[in-house]
């Protein structure tokens, strides 16, 4: 059933091929602009607290890969709050599937698949790929994907307990914004926050650092944090669903 859901979601995104490629191309232009920004920045500033142009491009490759998979393949992860707040889950609850995996796989965003493609190409061009670095890039990206999905599900599920989904939207914008910058430019309480309640540093900066300099302790912490956020997302959604009130809206979610 879940496999059929994934197939259906991809077929829907691929149905209009001209639009699909237009969206993928537009996202590539979007990502290229960020690369241009970092090249201009590091043309003037050689190194910022241990981050040079190579390491920041590696960070950006991991971020676009992670965000591309989460927002492209698990596209509903960022919409959960709105779906819950507006009572749009009825159609899912009537199906013989577990609601959370089905919801996450139900929708594919073509534009964000462009991010996945761009991330891979950027890593190939600027990440000095070797068998070991490719493995670390893939494994680190998977950890980032699990963590970001868990975080978005957690903040989105807060809508079951109150509000109209703003927490999910704010959490989404905040974590992606902060994940795109070298974590060491922040200090004190802000830096602590980026490793804990708003784990932006763990989405891309830590995996990128692991590709450059593997460290067992840091890898263990990343894996542990990913597992904790995955569990937190599942628990918040499951508990929240018990409080769900139908909006009598029959949508495809």
């Amino acid at each position: 059933m879940l496999l059929a859901t994934v197939r259906g979601a991809f077929a829907e995104a691929w149905a209009n091929r001209q639009s699909f490629w237009l969206q993928v191309g537009a996202m590539a232009v979007n990502d290229l602009a960020w690369v241009a920004f970092w090249l201009l920045f590091f043309n003037r500033v050689a190194n910022v607290r241990g981050w040079d142009v190579g390491r920041v491009l590696l960070l950006f490759a991991v971020l676009t890969t992670v965000a591309g998979v989460v927002l492209g393949v698990f596209a509903n992860a960022r919409r959960l709050g709105r779906l819950a707040a507006e009572g749009q889950l009825d159609a899912v609850l009537g199906l013989p599937v577990r609601p959370l995996p089905y919801l996450l796989l139900r929708r594919v965003e073509a534009a964000n698949l462009g991010d996945v493609l761009f991330g891979g190409l950027l890593f190939a061009a600027a990440g000095a790929p070797s068998p070991q670095r490719v493995l670390l890039y893939v494994v680190g990206s998977i950890a980032g994907i699990v963590l970001l999905t868990g975080f978005l599900v957690t903040v989105g599920s807060l809508a079951f307990f109150g509000g109209n989904g703003e927490a999910g939207e704010l959490g989404f914008h905040a974590i992606l914004l902060l994940a795109g910058y070298p974590v060491d430019v922040f200090a004190g309480g802000m830096k602590l926050m980026l490793y804990t309640v708003l784990p932006a540093a763990l989405v891309a900066a830590v995996p990128a650092r692991l590709v450059d300099a593997f460290d067992v302790r840091a890898a263990g912490l990343l894996a542990g944090a990913a597992a904790i956020f995955a569990l937190l997302g599942w628990a918040t959604f499951t508990l929240g669903l018990r409080r769900y009130t139908s909006g009598a809206v029959w949508t495809r979610a």
Partner: protein, 260 residues
């Protein structure tokens, strides 16, 4: 008559946006997060470069970001996409029935929507700036930045309508939105002061209209007392309005041919 519908469109939009407290709070929260992040990045860059980058010290860079982000965050981020959808779906045909020009009414409404958000962002940015790096480097520059922010928004709205008008021909302005947004980010100096660019690129960027949309108020608030920049903004506002009028006039004629 013309002055009356412009005033009504602006004041109605101001009232509508001001009444949306939740939306204003989200705008402010997002603005503070962006300014805090970019100011931290540029402060680290200044520290790594011996105290200043391209003539801007850490305080000047922080105030630069306060203004450059206020001029862009205050705007409806999906404006081009929204206009494109209205054109592509034919919904804009209904607006042609009103006894007021479609473009003028839409632009006046967008200015009205942006003004309350601009006021909130500037207030939030001022508090953040004073608390972290002290007052703006120049009081005269700060005074000039106020009209520059309003002109920046007007230029941006006019340019977005000109870009979105492409939907009369291609029926979907989403890709135009992506391209436009990134031009403002980089060529407009929103993320990075134009002086940081290599000399050849600076010359190109300074000849483009995007600097009127973010760089000019940011440059003034960072301490530069250059009133001629306001004249440059006024020039680009006239050009961009004329361009938007030309695109919409041609597009509306085409829309009638298609049938709406």
């Amino acid at each position: 008559m013309t002055a009356r519908w412009v005033a009504v469109a602006v004041s109605t939009a101001v009232q509508r946006v001001s009444g949306d407290r939740g939306g204003m709070l989200v705008t402010l929260g997002f603005y503070v997060a962006v300014v805090g992040t970019l100011a931290a990045l540029w402060a680290a860059a200044a520290e790594a470069s011996g105290g200043s980058v391209a003539g801007y010290d850490a305080a000047a860079l922080a105030w630069y970001i306060v203004a450059s982000e206020a001029a862009t965050v205050a705007l409806n981020v999906r404006m081009i996409e929204g206009i494109g959808d209205d054109i592509g779906s034919g919904a804009i045909a209904v607006e042609l029935l009103r006894p007021a020009p479609v473009l003028g009414l839409r632009m006046a409404t967008e200015v009205g929507r942006a003004l309350p958000r601009l006021a909130v962002c500037v207030a939030g940015g001022a508090v953040l700036g004073v608390a972290t790096v002290g007052p703006p480097p120049s009081a005269a520059g700060a005074l000039l930045a106020v009209p520059a922010l309003v002109l920046a928004i007007a230029c941006n709205i006019a340019a977005q309508h000109a870009f979105a008008g492409l939907a009369f021909w291609i029926r979907d302005a989403t890709s135009a939105w992506y391209l436009y947004q990134k031009l403002v980010f980089i060529a407009g100096g929103m993320l990075i002061p134009v002086e940081v660019f290599p000399a050849a690129l600076q010359a190109v960027v300074k000849a483009l209209p995007f600097i009127a949309m973010s760089y000019v108020p940011a440059r003034l608030l960072s301490g530069a007392v250059e009133p001629q920049l306001l004249v440059l903004q006024a020039f680009w506002l006239v050009v961009l309005c004329a361009l938007a009028v030309a695109v919409f006039s041609a597009g509306q004629r085409r829309l009638q041919v298609v049938g709406g």
